[in-house]
Symmetry: C2
Subunit: 255 residues, 2 copies
């Protein structure tokens, strides 16, 4: 037996149930699991070494074997079109689950890459399925996770098909804000883990447009921007913009 495995076992012994101790416990998979069953969930989860920026968690068209709960960091998922360009399909932050797109084909339909140093809990899917049969609530929670993904995708479709560039970016900012809030982090001041180019790709906009709109928001005192650090200054206005009711207000001095 390789020594690595031995070390892994020892490592597991030292920290009895990592799920129970994890700070993301209240928003991750364990929410659906009775404390008595948590050991069983914990036992199938594998912890791997952290990914560095640019490292892939999985590649498109490779066999689907596991889903991943993000402990820290952030990932983007993307597919590659026939013409070879990349299409970003989502951003995933700590406390969220990524990799569910491969379930129906047993092949990943997208790739996932770390946007910054990121560590994940790997959850082998066939063992999770077995467990879902046995643990009340886990199956249900899983249905919900997937349903949520369906709904968020449909929200995004709405964005992409109906809204202006300003509204798209406002919506993304509000979505990120909400997700940070869920983790008890500041919902008005946070760091964008992805590049402008990723944002543009995700929202169906050119990089230049993204950049222009960030500065426009800054001029309108809606947003404070310093590189990847942003600060929501006027949430109401951002909501209005996101909904498409801008009123063309605050356009510097006018008249």
């Amino acid at each position: 037996m390789p020594e690595a495995l031995n070390n892994a076992v020892i490592f597991r012994h030292q920290t009895a149930n990592q799920c129970a101790e994890c700070s993301l416990n209240p928003i991750c998979l364990p929410v659906a699991v009775d404390p008595d069953d948590l050991d069983r969930l914990d036992s199938i989860i594998q912890r791997t070494r952290p990914l560095h920026r640019g490292d892939h968690l999985y590649w498109e068209e490779t066999p689907f074997e596991a889903i991943y709960a993000i402990k820290a960091g952030a990932l983007k998922a993307y597919t590659t079109t026939d013409s070879g360009e990349e299409q970003v399909t989502g951003f995933y932050l700590a406390g969220e689950v990524v990799g569910m797109d491969g379930i129906h084909t047993d092949i990943h339909m997208s790739s996932a890459v770390a946007l910054e140093t990121t560590s994940v809990c790997e959850i082998p899917f066939n063992r999770l399925q077995d467990l879902a049969h046995e643990i009340p609530g886990l199956q249900n929670h899983f249905f919900k996770l997937m349903s949520r993904e369906i709904q968020s995708d449909q929200q995004l479709m709405l964005l992409l098909s109906k809204k202006t560039a300003e509204a798209r970016i406002a919506s993304l900012l509000l979505s990120l804000s909400e997700r940070y809030k869920r983790r008890r982090l500041s919902d008005h001041r946070f760091r964008l883990p992805m590049s402008r180019s990723d944002i543009g790709n995700y929202l169906g906009l050119a990089v230049e447009t993204v950049s222009r709109i960030f500065t426009r928001f800054q001029n309108q005192q809606v947003l404070g921007v310093e590189g990847k650090e942003v600060c929501i200054l006027d949430r109401e206005q951002l909501c209005r913009i996101s909904a498409g009711n801008e009123d063309s207000v605050a356009q510097t001095s006018r008249g």
Copy 2:
């Protein structure tokens, strides 16, 4: 059909297994269910009277209680934006399952309305969940159904954010073609159950653009169009257009 036989069929309604007799059996939920368990699935399914065009199967913001397998006809799902406009999120044909968007909130996040006379099998979700615990394969099939929906939504996002109007419409036509084929119907000549306006709404295009592109395709001999009846004349070209490699071919005469 003689009336005596009709009565016999009606009588069997109460005793026999409709899923087993249904022509959509090979592409509907029963594919995942062992024949011995089919009665249990069948027993929780409720058949309702057919919906007429414009009738709603469920409304946004009403409690989520069931999912629906479509026996015949077609539905569209849509959400209503804050500004009151409708956003079509999907079209659902016979053999497909609709209504999974409400799982994570227990509230429907969209409405579903019949595009033509439509009949569905109503499957109460909590009973289905119980059954999924007991019937091997049903839980898994369900994960797959939802995963497929996630993936098709992400495909659509790609369409909406990256592709031209022509490519979007070509893609929709090819998607419908494939789904008809799955039902052993003609994959090159079929009827569009939805209006031009629905298509435009779904694809993020103005009605006028949809109309223009249909006529353009017709002029290019790619498509035959007679109202809602369409006929794919040049599938290869349609694929090229859908992928964005038009070559600007057949654009009138060229030297």
